[in-house]
Every structure is written in C-alpha cells, then in structure tokens.
C-alpha cells in the first residue's frame, strides 16, 4: 500500500445503541449494555450477550408495516440486514457525497461478515418456536453474505468494484486492506468498507462448546477472566484517496496495515502470539513508524484465558514497554466479523476526544500478563493508535490509525 487513504466518515451500531453518537457517548462513559442471553434465546447454560436494541423489530412484519429503509434495502429483512441497517442509514449522506465527488462507479464496496446469513438459515431449518419462522421467501442467497451486501451497495449507490470477505473475526480488517488496495491501484477513488454480524443460537452454542463464552459479562485481561460476551453489531467507514479536499474532511488516516497467520491451531492462539507479533510489526513497518510512536493499543481482547495471554505476549515482544491498552469488547461485546472495524471507529473517536475508553471489569488485573490495561476513561495525547483483530484460522490483522494533523502536508 503506497497511497495515503483517509477515513472521512464512520458509523456504528451495537448493543450500546443504533446511532453512532449514542454508541460513542455511552462507550466513553463506560456504560454496560449487556443482558442475560435468556432474553434472547433459550440456553441450557448462562452467558451474557450484547444485543442491538430493536434488532427484532421487523420480524414478521408485513412489508407495508416496515419502515422505508428496510424495503429500500430490497432484500429479506434478515437479522444480518437489520444489524447493518442502522450504520448504513447513518453513512448514507457521506456515501452520496463520495459518489457526487468521484462518480458512482469509482466508489467501491467491500463488505465483511463472519456468519453472514446463518441466522436466517437456522430459522428456516431449525426454527426457534419463540421466534417468527424464516421468511417464506427464504432462498440460498440469504444464507450467503451476498444478498445483504449487494442490497446495501445498491441502496448506497456505490457502483464500484464489490467484494465480500469472510475471515472470521479479522474479516473487517481484511476488507479494509482490500479497499485500500483498490484505491492504491487506481480501481477506485473511494470505498465503503462495511461489516455486520448477527447472532444465532448455533453461534452461541458453538462458542460455548469451545469453552469460550463467559457466564457473566466479559472481563478482558482480568485475573479471573472467563471468556467472551458475544454481541450483535455493524460498523462502516468511508475511505478516500488523498486529495486536498480529502485532507480537510479526514477524521483519521490509515497509516499501515499488517497481516499474518499463526500457523499453530485453528481456534487456539499461538502461545507467544506469533501471528500477532508479525502483523503488528508489519503494520508499523508500513506506517514507517517504530513501536515508540504508538500511543495506545486497542486490543483484540476477547476475555478468554488463552487469547488475552497470547495477545499480551505479542504486545510485550513488539513494544518492549508498557503501552496503554484498552479492550473495547468489554463495552460492545465481541461482534465477530465486525469486531475490527468496530474497534477502529471507536479509535477514530479516541483520536478526536484525546481519550482512551475504559476496559470494563478488568480489575483485578492479571499482573502476569505484563500489559498496561486502561481500566477507566483516561485523557491522553493520542497521535497514533494500533488496533488488533485476530480470528479463527489463526488470522491476524493490525491497523495503525493516525490523527488527521499527523500527516505531512
């Protein structure tokens, strides 16, 4: 990647709310928005979930009773579409402006999701009696990521190259990297990078079967951390090629992206965080920065024993000093394929507010990890922040995000 790219708009929605302002205000206030999973589905075990408000609102409604945005999406109102819609709705003016600026076919659309439409398929093939049946219109494309992503691209008017990416919990950062490559090689001038993931019972049971769900709200980097709190969410950003006008509108710059594989185990991290080390070093190299330039790390921080230990080991190896580190999954839940972009949008706000959001429930800290966890909202001089997203398959991606005024004129 050689072309400088700016993030010029961003939106997100998750358990903290369905408009970005509410989500960001609540995140920086340290609000706890998780609820018992029993409110969502019947489970033979205890866990908490981060459920987006109103996610079920359109279930079973006739088309004439749904709001216009849902019908404008021109796809089945799957939970995936409903998770994406609040972010899409907020981002639409910025995308329209990008289309006016660059031309519709010069605005690419790269979408990321881990589970895609699995929830719709589950409702069709293994229905929960408490929920409405899957739409009678159920078709295969609603299982795949396609129907939703194509409908959103049409809805936004982004007629450029369209790509869908799915690499589990690192999906949205691979999507960001793909979008920057399209701009770098001149195939687009701007790109909408979007991600959404919705929960279904199969996913919750699956993570529980792997021993990864926490019975109570997740506690990343805490001494007695017990696992993940899963969440529903979406996050979107518009990235644009460098130009004088882009510089005036930049919320932040993507300074460097690095990626690597663990090559160790499909679901367990390398004990030394090998892939994490490699991708953090590569992101720094591509940003032309030394580790000393990083003011804060937004960790993948899922709250499992092994993940947090591996990530902490990788951070110690790469930085060799105690960098302030926050784990925003304690606020939003683990939104799977949307996790990276969710953390990135929170980081953009961190750069604007010059504040690091708290890692909730992190105390008592696991001192053996040797990392500097920020357990309360903290004011800080933030110029460059490194954000991690790691996933199944040993897939690791790191992104360095920089404050707008740090780029050379």
């Amino acid at each position: 990647m050689t072309t400088e790219c700016a993030i010029t708009a961003a939106a997100l929605a998750n358990c903290l709310g369905t408009d970005s302002r509410t989500v960001l205000d609540r995140a920086f206030a340290g609000d706890d928005a998780f609820s018992p999973a029993s409110a969502f589905c019947e489970l033979p075990f205890s866990t908490m979930l981060g459920v987006m408000p109103g996610i079920e609102a359109h279930r079973g409604l006739r088309a004439t009773d749904r709001d216009r945005d849902v019908d404008a999406l021109d796809c089945i109102p799957t939970r995936l579409a409903m998770a994406a819609l609040p972010s899409v709705r907020q981002l639409r003016p910025a995308v329209r402006a990008a289309v006016d600026r660059w031309g519709a076919h010069r605005v690419a659309y790269v979408f990321a999701s881990s589970t895609g439409g699995l929830e719709e398929t589950e409702r069709a093939l293994a229905p929960d009696p408490r929920l409405p049946l899957a739409s009678a219109r159920y078709r295969y494309s609603d299982h795949a990521i396609d129907a939703t992503s194509q409908a959103i691209a049409r809805h936004l008017g982004a007629d450029g190259v369209a790509i869908a990416i799915s690499t589990a919990c690192s999906s949205s950062f691979h999507a960001l990297a793909a979008a920057l490559r399209l701009i770098d090689r001149g195939l687009a001038d701007a790109a909408v990078v979007g991600s959404a993931d919705s929960l279904c019972r199969t996913t919750v049971f699956g993570f529980h079967g792997l021993g990864l769900t926490a019975p109570t709200a997740t506690r990343p980097f805490a001494r007695d951390r017990a696992g993940i709190t899963l969440g529903v969410g979406s996050a979107y950003a518009v990235v644009e090629r460098d130009a004088p006008d882009t510089r005036r509108r930049a919320l932040a710059w993507v300074a460097g992206i690095g990626a690597a594989s663990d090559a160790f185990h499909h679901t367990s991290p390398h004990p030394d965080g090998l892939g994490g080390q490699l991708c953090m070093r590569q992101a720094l190299d591509r940003a032309g920065m030394s580790p000393d330039a990083i003011d804060c790390i937004s960790a993948h921080g899922t709250g499992t024993k092994l993940n947090d230990a591996a990530e902490a080991a990788a951070v110690r190896q790469v930085f060799g000093r105690r960098v302030p580190l926050t784990a925003t999954k304690s606020l939003t839940g683990h939104t799977l394929g949307s996790a990276g972009l969710t953390a990135l949008v929170l980081t953009v706000e961190s750069l604007r507010r010059q504040a690091i959001p708290a890692t909730l429930r992190a105390t008592p800290l696991d001192d053996a990890l040797g990392v500097e966890v920020v357990d309360r909202r903290t004011a800080a001089e933030l110029r460059h922040v490194l954000v991690n997203a790691f996933g199944f398959g040993g897939s690791n991606v790191s992104v360095v995000v920089s404050r707008p005024d740090t780029r050379p004129s």
């Binding site: 450029g160 369209a162 770098d184 996913t203 897939s395």
Partner: protein, 262 residues
Amino acid sequence: MTPVPPSTVGSVPIWKAAFFSTCHASARDVLAGRERPFTAPAYGLLVGRARRFTSLVTQMHVEVCGALQPEAQRALGVFATCHGEIQTCERLIADFRDASMVSSARFALSVHNTPSGVYAVATGSTAPTTTITGANALAAGWLEASLIALEADRPVLLSIADEPVPPVFCGPTEPVGFAAAFLIGAAPGAADPGGTAELTIVACGDDPEANRPVDALRALAHAADAWARRAPATIALGPIQPGARLELRVWPGPPRVQEARA
C-alpha cells in the same frame, strides 16, 4: 447507470497451476465433457484429526495448494469460495435441530477461512491469507490476488474451491466439487513462468445475462488448461461491479516488458 470504462488491472506471471474435480480426472476432461465416478481428494498435506474432520471444500483447497509446493510455501494466500463451508453448516444446523447441541469441532471448522487456516497449520506458513466469498468469488478472488501480487515482493497463492450445496438450502444444484490454485506474481525461485495472467474490467452494460456468475468449474478448467498447454485463452470470470465483469487473459511466457513496467 453511467457506463463503466474498461480498466486494466495488470499483468502478473503464472508460475504454477493445479486443478482438481471430484467428477473429472483433469481440466482437459472438464472441457471435453469426460466424467469419472466421484473421487475424493488425496489431501496428502493433512494428517490425523485434520484429515478426519475437514470438509470436502477444505480438502480440495489443500489438495491443489499442496500440488504447488514447495514453491508456494511462503506465498501470500488468497482463498476464494462462493459457498464456503456449506456442507459443514448443514451438518451443524442439523445437529442443532435434532439434538439441541453443536459439535465444537464442527463449529470451529465452519468459518469461511477454515481452508486457509488448515493450510497454514499444515505447511507451517505464517504468511497472511484472506478469504473472498459471495457469488462473484471467482472474479473477486482473481482481482484480490492480482492486486496483492502487483504490490508484493513474494508470490501469491490463489486457491479457489467450492463443494456441492446440500439440497436443503434450495440453492445451486451443481453436483461437482472442484478447485484450482495458481501461483502468481513475484518469482518463487523457478526460472521460467509458464504464462501470464492479465485481468481487465470490461463494461457489459445492463445486460442481466452478462452480469450473471459464470460457470466457475469451466472457467477454472479453462484457465488451468491454458496454462498447462501454454495456450492463449480469454476467460470471463464474472461480474465485479454493476455493469462490468472481469476478464482473464492467459498467454504463454512472461508479462511483456512495457506491461510489467505499468
């Protein structure tokens, strides 16, 4: 809709190619319409649990990637699949419906990037991999791999595979499982590239036929066969954006000098 102007993505050398089909002995047989009884991949890179628990699509990915070793060992990876782990998904949901339980091993292997993760573990490669999905995965996979190859200082392993979609999904009814892999971009150490891949985005207007996904089995067989026979070919890879599709031109030998500079 504003017509999409033609755009050349770039030209990259193809160093090696491999093809597998559950119902055809070779890419040539696909093109000639010669079928064989269902044949599973040999998946020589997989041992133990990895061999027992992986799906057909993962095994086929690993089969064709294995055929490109050792040159592909440190290559950057782009895996592409329209349907992902669709057979694993079907079993996962059937288990859940019938017994209200989910096999943790099956769940772990249900993500789209299972093949790349299994491949990385099998080969010990820490190189990054991404996974492209969706109906246009064939075109988008080639595009992503070429874009990475054009900026990278090491080769790129592009692996494309799909397994038959179970009938319960009411989806595509293609009964053939197939995979192809191509080692492209920077020289992996071999002296002579067998061919060049050139990708171009071509306007196709609002014609719904032109915007449909292509027959991926035949397109991949065509590309692999063209490389193997050192024969030129032009292959439609399918839609890449509204009103435009991606085309792959394969020709013998290395990229032309002026195109390599571009």
